[in-house]
Amino acid sequence: MSKETLTVRRLAVHRHDGEALVTGVDLTLAPGERVGLIGESGSGKSLTALAIMGLLPEGLRASGSVRLAGTSTDLLDTGERALADLRGNRLSMVFQEPMSALNPLMRVGDQVAEVLRLHQTGIGRAAAAAKAVELLDQVRLPDPAQAARAYPHQLSGGQRQRVLIAMALANEPAVLLCDEPTSALDVTVQAQILDLIVAGTAHRDTSLLFITHDLAVVATVCSRVLVMRDGSIVESGPVEQVFTRPQHPYTQALLDAAEPPASDAASSVQKAGQSLLSVENAARVYTRPRTSLLTPRPRVAGLRDVSFDVAAGQRFGIVGESGSGKSTLVRLLAGLDRPTSGSVRFAGREISALPERRLRFLREDVQMVFQDPSGSLDPRMRVGEIVAEPLVALGRARLRTERANRVRDLLDAVGLPADAAVRFPHEFSGGQRQRISIARALAPAPKVLIADEPVSALDASVRSRILELLASLADSHELTLVFVSHDLAVVRQICDTIGVLHQGELVEIGPTEQVYTQPAHPYTRRLLTAIPTVTRALAGVSASDLASAPADLPEH
């Protein structure tokens, strides 16, 4: 045995019927080394991690060899009891979804202490509790003693992920596996978590296997990288070499998708027509259920005093993190919700006070594409019916043949075959479903297309194709585009004007390039600093640099 902490040879994962999901994975981790495993959904990257941990789901079988320094046997041949002793102790894992990875009925301090007591026989209850607080302090939770007494739902997503990291590092593991630990988090929070993971592993000389679809994150965190596709490693090597001189065309394609060219939209600034959508001092206050009979219902401001105009032909981007009021704003624009105060006008007509039956003019001209490509399509309707729904609802194309023709044209326009019309949504991939969603939105030939996070659920390579489709459709159909996203890179690629939302307020608005190159508001600057990019990472920007943003804004 060499000095490597983890040596994986010819690892393969098969299903019961013999189908191979992962084949021939070789990987080694030296002490303190940080290695990235990159792949899109379905590439087998998570299965690889689960196979190493011995946590494969029922019906899957691993073969090959996994050796951990300090243990005599192959992990794949080790029994469940011996493996359980290693997990959380020598071998730890951090999962993507911090809410479901924590027990909702247990205080987080107890959960950290449990990991300690499971593997450290000598440690007493009080000592474990004290150590737990210390660990929570190390992951930089504010007021760790207080946080230890909190339940998971009382913490934010970023704080929960910190707790998970504290648990994973509690027993000074030899190897830490992180499976998309920051994909569910906002960029500013992601920057802090990445910094924490890097610091935590470096401090303990722990080897890190970092699994993600995000090349920029790997470039920032890792020194070596493996690229996985369809269950096997297609390329591996030092980050610098792989990202600057990729050998495999797939790696090249991923890199192209990760570093999109700055938009041509930005250069072709505004054929500026007249104002089409206009929002004036709009605010939306939500009332929560009573917490006590004596106090009034708590009120939460979803949106406060937002004003802007979208001109005809413009591509307007709205950027914000979770809870910033993006979705609220989208609903107001689409007439799906009303502002508590202020006004929303479309083509000069006030829409915020109108009842549903008088919003027909709006429905004809303003259509939406939603975030979740599976959730926004009725699973019981055929694609043809879904695409035709706006036509039926608006009483257009009453003849069956006329509708069928229109549906065929629309499917063709979004790059789907005509026979898609008779199939059900679940038969399509995420990207294809988003195309269906776009076809539906185009059905009544709208003037405005509002896209609410249309690509955030998609893999990078699919993402860029959908963005290209949206951009070309916007051109060919002369659409005004309102594009909402948490991802600044995506917005930059497609929009000519950007508004930045922060905690319900529009803190900055301006032409895309100006916002990117000379951000005026501290929040925008912090947002821009926090985004990892391959280029900046190769230039030496580390995780701690991303996290060291202007400190004048609290984490929320």
Partner: protein, 279 residues
């Protein structure tokens, strides 16, 4: 992948087929009983009391010397009647109410409280009340059981409706220009139908059993009309000397209920496009 497919569709067809066959059997027996039974189901013959199964009396005779096979055949009509009326009343009234409470906020509070009230009132008591007011018959008992089953449908359908209304496709339908009724018919109903079917098969079983109880109390099917439920109740005192008397109607009820449950499951799976062609 191919293995999963064959197994999947196999199960769907199996429960649908088995359930359909059992229900078909009950319907067939009920239809045949109108034109032919082995003996007169109402003929009392004190010389042939409590006989065991024989070529003449296939399933034996009861305390009054009546042929059990014939009475079971005629009793199947009551069972079907019970199921159709009670479940029909509950589903036809309960489903729209459930959708309504799931989609409108203003009415929801009132209807849900009314539902709670109806739930707190025992179904059998309601049926007895109906019997006292309108005269005891299978129909009045079943309408009462049906009305008492409405809250279950309202609750189940409301839960399903709330879930559908929180999805993006419901929002997408609004953005596409659909109004409330259109969304209810095109999106909510198809998506809660599986819940309605399952609830219907459960309610059917409850209705059959409730009919048995009511008949025993004298508020259901009036004697001498045969009913599986009452046959079961009547056999109670002879359970230790002549257990077969309880077995026959018991088996009949069990098979009918099983048939409806299997059929309900099968239907639900058959009409779920996600299960139809998975992978």
């Amino acid at each position: 992948m191919s293995a999963a497919r064959t197994r999947g569709t196999g199960t769907v067809n199996l429960s649908l087929l088995a359930g359909g066959a059992l229900i078909g059997l009950v319907i067939l027996v009920a239809v045949v009983s109108f034109v032919w039974t082995p003996h007169d189901p109402y003929h009392v013959d004190s010389t042939h009391r409590l006989l065991g199964p024989s070529p003449t009396y296939w399933l034996g005779t009861d305390t009054f010397g009546r042929d059990i096979a014939s009475r079971l055949m005629v009793g199947s009509r009551t069972t079907l009647f019970v199921g159709v009326i009670a479940v029909g009343v509950a589903a036809v009234l309960g489903t729209p109410l459930g959708v309504l409470t799931g989609m409108t906020r203003r009415l929801a509070g009132f209807i849900m409280r009314a539902t709670d009230l109806a739930m707190a009132f025992p179904a059998l008591l309601l049926a007895i009340m109906f019997g006292a007011v309108f005269g005891s018959s299978t129909l009045t008992a079943m309408v009462a059981i049906g009305l008492a089953s409405i809250p279950a449908f309202v609750r189940v359908v409301r839960a399903g409706t709330l879930q559908v209304m929180s999805t993006e496709y419901a929002l997408a339908a609004r953005a596409a220009g659909r109004r409330g009724p259109g969304i209810a018919v095109r999106h909510v109903l198809p998506n809660v139908m599986s819940l309605v079917i399952v609830q219907a098969s459960v309610s059917f079983a409850i209705a059959v059993l409730a009919e048995a109880g009511l008949s025993f109390l004298g508020f259901g099917t009036p004697p001498p009309t045969p009913s599986w439920g009452r046959m079961l109740q009547e056999s109670q005192e002879l359970l230790f000397t002549h257990p077969l008397l309880a077995v026959w109607p018991g088996v009949a009820i069990a098979l009918a209920v099983l048939g409806f449950n299997l059929f309900g499951d099968g239907l639900r799976d058959r009409y779920d496009p996600r299960l139809e062609r998975r992978r």
